[in-house]
């Protein structure tokens, strides 16, 4: 008997995956975008399907609108005590929305359908930055499909609700610390589609044409991703440890409660203000359950520990002429992400927003609305509890958008 070699039981760390909300930029109504997100009480139109289903029944017409934004997410990172600043690659993510209302003219009810993308984003740090083993790129989009019913209980009081079906898509990659013969690291790529359900309800009350108040609540939507694809590029000797497999994950998209008011500030000027409470504290952890586990590829659990978040927005709507409305707004958003849990997929921080926008009535039937919002996420120096990556993030978001409405 001769014992030639020893089994050394090689173990590598499992690649933990990430999947976050992405950076939320609400672009459902370009009118609201022009006022930094305020206006749920002011605008009574087809986009109320999203902002407040209770206002939809107050529309005196039916309408269809489509809109899209070009969200440009530009983040920068400098590792603590380093001189190299790393930027995300220039990527445009295109959130879109489509709304339609149906119902008899001047009736006590209206129905509607909204398709919109309340969460999502695209961030690409590449594979040459200090956080490469945490994230290369993430693309994520939640598409909400919401059939809606709205009723006028009195001339001034509307109530409505909608059912939300979410289709969520995610696609991400990160480097794995397994050097191949030429020294390059391995790579994990995860992608999948998940679904979830929720609801959206609201009440809208107005005094004559002057003052209005809007209360709305959007439930959380737990999005379950099943059988996503997990692909690993590793040196051949490690292929058995990193089998290409599937994974399940669950992502709770948070609820939000919104209060909006509007009142006139002059003959042709309206002021609107909104406050939103976002129930991000449901996002405690992110679990990835791989179908084929190996000693190397174990299920992972990442702590997120988000807090509830809050945002305030206010804006002006000026009727510049018969055909043209101009808008401007400012807002402030408190981040749900605590310092140690800030990660490159959403290097979040408190943000300030400024916006401008317009609506041009082409004729009785057609409206064109445009808006531009700029969000600046304040510089934040953090040390990640999950990966130890330590440094300063700073982010700017630009989102010009346009929408077209047809009324009848």
């Amino acid at each position: 008997m001769q014992i030639k070699r020893l089994i050394l039981g090689l173990l590598l760390a499992s690649p933990a995956a990430v999947w976050a909300q992405g950076s939320q930029v609400n672009t459902q109504s370009q009118k609201a975008v022009g006022m930094a997100g305020a206006g749920s009480a002011l605008f009574v139109d087809e986009t109320s399907i999203f902002y407040n289903p209770g206002a939809v029944a107050k529309m005196d017409h039916n309408a269809v609108s489509i809109g899209a934004s070009a969200v440009m997410y530009r983040a920068a990172f400098r590792e603590f005590n380093s001189n190299d600043v790393h930027h995300t690659k220039f990527k445009i993510s295109p959130p879109f929305s489509a709304f339609a209302t149906f119902g008899p003219q001047n009736s006590w009810w209206k129905a509607g359908l909204g398709i919109y993308t309340p969460f999502g984003g695209s961030v690409d740090w590449g594979d040459q930055w200090p956080g490469r083993y945490e994230l290369n790129h993430l693309q994520m989009r939640a598409i909400y499909i919401q059939p809606t019913l709205s009723f006028k209980l009195t001339e001034n009081f509307g109530i409505g609700g909608g059912f939300v079906y979410n289709v969520g898509m995610v696609d991400l990659s990160r480097s794995i610390p397994t050097a191949s013969a030429d020294g390059t690291p391995g790579r994990a790529e995860l992608s999948g589609v998940g679904t979830g359900m929720g609801f959206n309800v609201g009440v809208h009350y107005n005094l004559e044409d002057d003052f209005a108040i809007s209360l709305s609540y959007r439930s959380q939507v737990i999005t379950k991703l099943k059988d996503g694809d997990a692909q690993f590029t590793v040196p051949p000797a490690l292929a058995a440890s990193f089998p290409n497999t599937t994974f399940d994950a669950e992502l709770p998209l948070p609820s939000s409660f919104n209060v909006g008011v509007t009142f006139p500030a002059g003959e042709r000027v309206d002021i609107a203000a909104d406050a939103t409470f976002i129930g991000y504290s449901v996002y405690r952890e992110l679990v990835f359950d791989y179908k084929d586990n190996t000693p190397v590829l174990e299920d992972t659990k990442q702590i997120k520990n988000y807090e509830n978040a809050f945002s305030v927005k206010t804006g002006l709507n000026v009727e510049a002429s018969e055909k043209l409305d101009l808008r401007a707004g400012v807002g402030y958003v408190y981040t749900p992400v605590r310092g140690p849990y800030v990660s490159p997929e959403t290097p979040d921080n408190n943000r300030i927003m400024g916006s401008v926008g317009f609506t041009y009535d082409i004729n009785d039937r057609w409206d064109l609305t445009g808006a531009y919002v700029f969000q600046h996420l304040l510089e934040r120096t953090v040390t990640s509890a999950n990966t130890g990556l330590s440094g300063a993030y700073k982010t700017n978001i630009h989102a010009p958008g346009i929408s077209l409405t047809y009324k009848w």
Binding site: I3, Y133, P235, V356, F374, T387, L389, K394
Partner: protein, 433 residues
């Protein structure tokens, strides 16, 4: 209406200004500064770690990522101009030769030797490199032998750096202190312990590299070497000597792993592995006895011979030879010696107001509980720990980058300098086939 359009033009103007100026967020960089030190001519004094030795050999890829070279790259931002190393040429890039992973079979590593593009001009003699250099690392250099001129004839890595006339006549101390440096790093002394420990605490007669250096010798040579390097108030950084139990060379082949291997290969339910202790008495091994890494591939366990019919290592009459084992008493003695050396290093560093990189404390932290660096788990596990190369003693490129950061941190602290850190995630761990 006209006014409105005028306003729109104004808004568009304002918008494009905002857009252009704020499109990309800017983060202010680190304000680099040399502080109280002068880094214009930095020399690195040391052994294999300083030279960039890895995977059981000195070769070009390892030389390029030696921790002093990574430090020097960062020092360029605070006034360093020229840091040269005795790089092997591209044709002789595999230098002394080294080992690489050929395959993993059921989680067990199979190694092979790299034997092409070597740099030997004759057997045991490497191609000369006698131009001016600042990385003065010599694999195998010991503190006690740094004062012995004959060592230049014995150590092929030192011989390589010396003009023929200096071989056997110039000591390493002389070689290292005639460079007109303004700043130095000094990491010597590891081999004064390791040379003996890696041989199972056995001193081979006539082999000065297996001697365990006496504490008094260590203190005397260390002090005079540092005196010579610090004349004219020159500044530098010194490092402590790691614990032998912090490196995979001593922690990978365990008693439990040996027993499991016997069971797996022979089906025998073995209870004990027998070792020859430093005192010559055989006994059953405990978990505190450390087997050296080469024992894993020596293929001796279970062997019988006509002279000794008992299975090797499995019977008290044929124990594992002492040179393959650091028994628990030897571990204790060597740890005590390391501790004595380190307290000398710390005292002299303080006396001379030198920066101190505490590699002993750092590598103990890498071993337990391990560190997570930018999402990469770093620990003292063989192959998978990312810090140690395939010889179980020397560092991977990533390990070198982490040690470079340890030195930079120490320098920054001592001299109030602001040297930016190395992005260690750019550097690899062990290469897999």
């Amino acid at each position: 209406m006209k006014k409105v359009f005028k306003n729109i033009a104004l808004y568009i103007g304002i918008l494009s200004t905002i857009f252009a100026s704020s499109c990309k967020p800017e983060i202010e960089g680190l304000q680099t500064s040399p502080g109280q030190a002068d880094f214009s001519k930095y020399i690195a004094v040391g052994n294999s770690l300083t030279a960039g030795f890895a995977d059981g050999g000195l070769y070009l890829e390892g030389q390029k990522v030696a921790f002093p070279n990574l430090i020097a790259e960062q020092l360029q931002q605070v006034g360093n101009t020229n840091f040269r190393s005795p790089f092997f040429s591209e044709n002789e890039r595999n230098g002394s030769g080294y080992i690489q992973l050929q395959a993993l079979v059921d989680g067990q590593p199979i190694m092979e030797n790299v034997t092409d593009n070597l740099a030997y001009r004759a057997e045991g003699k490497l191609s000369k490199y006698t131009e001016d250099i600042e990385n003065l690392g010599v694999p195998g250099m010991r503190l006690d032998l740094s004062t012995q001129a004959w060592f230049g004839g014995l150590n092929m890595y030192f011989e390589r750096l010396l003009p023929d006339a200096d071989v056997g006549t110039k000591t390493y101390v002389q070689f290292a202190t005639e460079k007109n440096h303004t700043f130095f790093s000094f990491w010597l002394g590891n081999n004064d312990v390791l040379g003996n420990a890696m041989n199972g605490a056995v001193t081979n007669p006539g082999d000065p590299t297996t001697v365990l250096t006496e504490t008094a010798t260590f203190e005397q040579v260390y002090r005079s070497f540092i005196e010579a390097l610090t004349t004219n108030d020159r500044k530098g950084v010194v490092a402590t000597i790691p614990d032998v139990t912090a490196i995979p060379f001593f922690t990978t082949v365990t008693r439990a792993a040996l027993i499991a291997a016997v069971k797996a290969e022979s089906g025998q339910d073995v209870q004990d592995i027998y070792i020859e202790t430093g005192t010559g008495i055989p006994r059953a091994a405990s978990d505190n006895d450390l087997f050296v890494l080469p024992f894993a591939s020596a293929g001796l366990l279970g062997n019988t011979s006509t002279e000794n019919p008992f299975p090797y290592g499995l019977h008290p009459n044929n124990p594992v030879e002492s040179k393959y084992v650091l028994d628990s008493d030897e571990v204790t003695a060597i740890q005590a010696r390391v501790k004595a050396f380190n307290s000398i290093i710390k005292d002299i560093a303080e006396e001379k107001s030198l920066a101190l990189a505490d590699a002993h404390a750092y590598l103990n932290r890498v071993k337990n509980p391990g560190i997570v660096y930018n999402g990469v788990a770093i620990n003292a596990s063989f192959i998978t720990g990312n810090a140690f190369s395939l010889d179980g003693v020397h560092l991977t490129p990533m390990g070198n980058a982490l040690i470079a950061n340890l030195f930079i941190e120490a320098i920054n602290k001592q001299y109030r300098s602001r040297i930016p850190k190395v992005d260690a995630s750019k550097y690899r761990g062990v290469k897999f086939p």
